[in-house]
Amino acid sequence: MLKILKYSFYDLMRSRWSYVYFLFYLALGFVLLFLNNDLSKAVITLMNVIIILVPLISTIFGVMYFYNSKEFTELLLAQPLKRSSIFLGQYLGVAGSLMLSLVLGLGIPFVLYGLFKSDTIWDFSLLLITGAFLTLIFAALAFNIALSNENKIKGFGYAVLLWLFLAVIYDGLFLMSLILFEEYPLDSFSLAATMFNPIDLSRTLILLKLDISALLGYTGAIFKQFFGTYTGLIVSITMLILWTVLPIWRLAYKAKRKDF
């Protein structure tokens, strides 16, 4: 698997898209910091970017890579290699290169700006960790979609739909159901609903850092327990790990049974 990872990563590192992605984050980081001169504000803007763009780019990139490396995959399949290692290797190659672009692209401007001397470093690290998780999750989901759809167009369509659903539509439905059932105690429901969407989950994790003052204004005991203690952090991270592991597991499972 490590060898496949190496070659996929190597392959991606030479592809134009990795650089586009990297340069995009680099430019974003510089623009945010040096035009604004406000580290805290930059971190908040970045949060929006990470929550929305990282999943989108990971999904599209994942699907694209999967379809584009079909030949490579077939070449590998005839080699004495385990199927799961072929796909996991490719997946980790994609996710790894995306994460590297993200971390370096954002990290360089922030470090140059003097991040290490600032208190914002924790908020920033949390952002990067969340971004890394989102990359892993959405690349895995993209691979799953691509693996289940031979048709490229369909695969792309589903991938973009998935993103749209998790990034926007889900929250809309979530909000409507909260308003609709507002007479009932809703804090367990709303926390649970958050857990089922990795984007919301990451957002919550960041809220814990940036908006804890507002979150603690709510009366519910479960909210209080969740946001007021380390429970929220631990539960969120556990769920993120679960969100990462499950699609990867399904990927390996499906890959073993697929015909090429």
Partner: protein, 236 residues
């Protein structure tokens, strides 16, 4: 070498292979023939483990291939379409495959044989179809394995390279290897193959030498014999 028992494969509602039994042993060149959609490629992919059979058992060198991948160490496979990751250079591709298989290889002679030297530093995406096929052949023959599977090996090759390929095949056969070929070029089959496996509607319709086929169909010409098999079926 290869034993197949009760092999079934369905793609959705489409039954591609049904109750297929096949036993291939000893050295020689075995041509897998059949009309389009008869299941040739599926059969080969089943042997390679790329397609998972619905039921039945396949054994390669005595051991079942189910949940097994190490047996592919002993197989060289030439895929039908020579498509490779475009970002890699020829040299890197060869190095990568060597790295993945961790086996002694003799790619240098083959590169010389097919005159690929000037292309070694080119990216695969810039190569022509014929050159890609040559690279494909180099990758297939550079390891010393007892079983060689070739899916349409002649496609895109110029006559000179075709002759070199034939020489290569004979050389390998003489080393006592089992070679499985699918092709649509009957002349190539007649010239090269020791045994023919004729697939029809997902099952083996005929297995034997060219001579046996000719006598069975009462034809003197091989191509006519093949065509006659198809008509016999429709009669039956």
């Amino acid at each position: 070498m290869i034993q197949i028992e009760n092999l079934y494969k369905k793609f959705g509602r489409n039954q591609v292979l049904s109750n297929l039994d096949l036993d291939i042993h000893g050295s020689g060149i075995f041509a897998v023939l059949g009309p389009n959609g008869s299941g040739k490629t599926t059969l080969i992919k089943c042997i390679l483990g790329m397609v998972v059979p619905s039921s039945g058992e396949i054994k390669v060198q005595g051991s079942t291939i189910k949940k097994n991948w190490k047996y592919r160490q002993e197989i060289n496979y030439l895929p039908q379409i020579a498509n490779f990751p475009g970002n890699l250079k020829v040299k890197e591709l060869i190095r990568m495959i060597k790295d993945l298989r961790q086996k002694d290889s003799m790619e240098e002679d083959l590169i010389k044989l097919f005159g690929l030297d000037p292309f070694l530093d080119k990216k695969l995406s810039t190569l022509s179809g014929g050159t890609k096929q040559k690279v494909n052949i180099v990758l297939t023959f550079m390891f010393d394995c007892p079983l060689i599977i070739l899916d349409e090996p002649t496609s895109g090759l110029d006559p000179a390279s075709l002759i070199k390929l034939k020489e290569l095949l004979l050389k390998e056969k003489n080393k006592g290897k089992t070679i499985l070929i699918t092709t649509h070029i009957m002349q190539f089959v007649e010239e090269m193959s020791d045994e023919i496996v004729y697939l029809l509607e997902g099952n083996i319709f005929f297995k034997g030498t060219v001579e046996q086929l000719k006598s069975k169909t009462n034809q003197t010409d091989f191509e006519h014999a093949i065509a006659a098999i198809a008509t016999q079926t429709s009669d039956a």
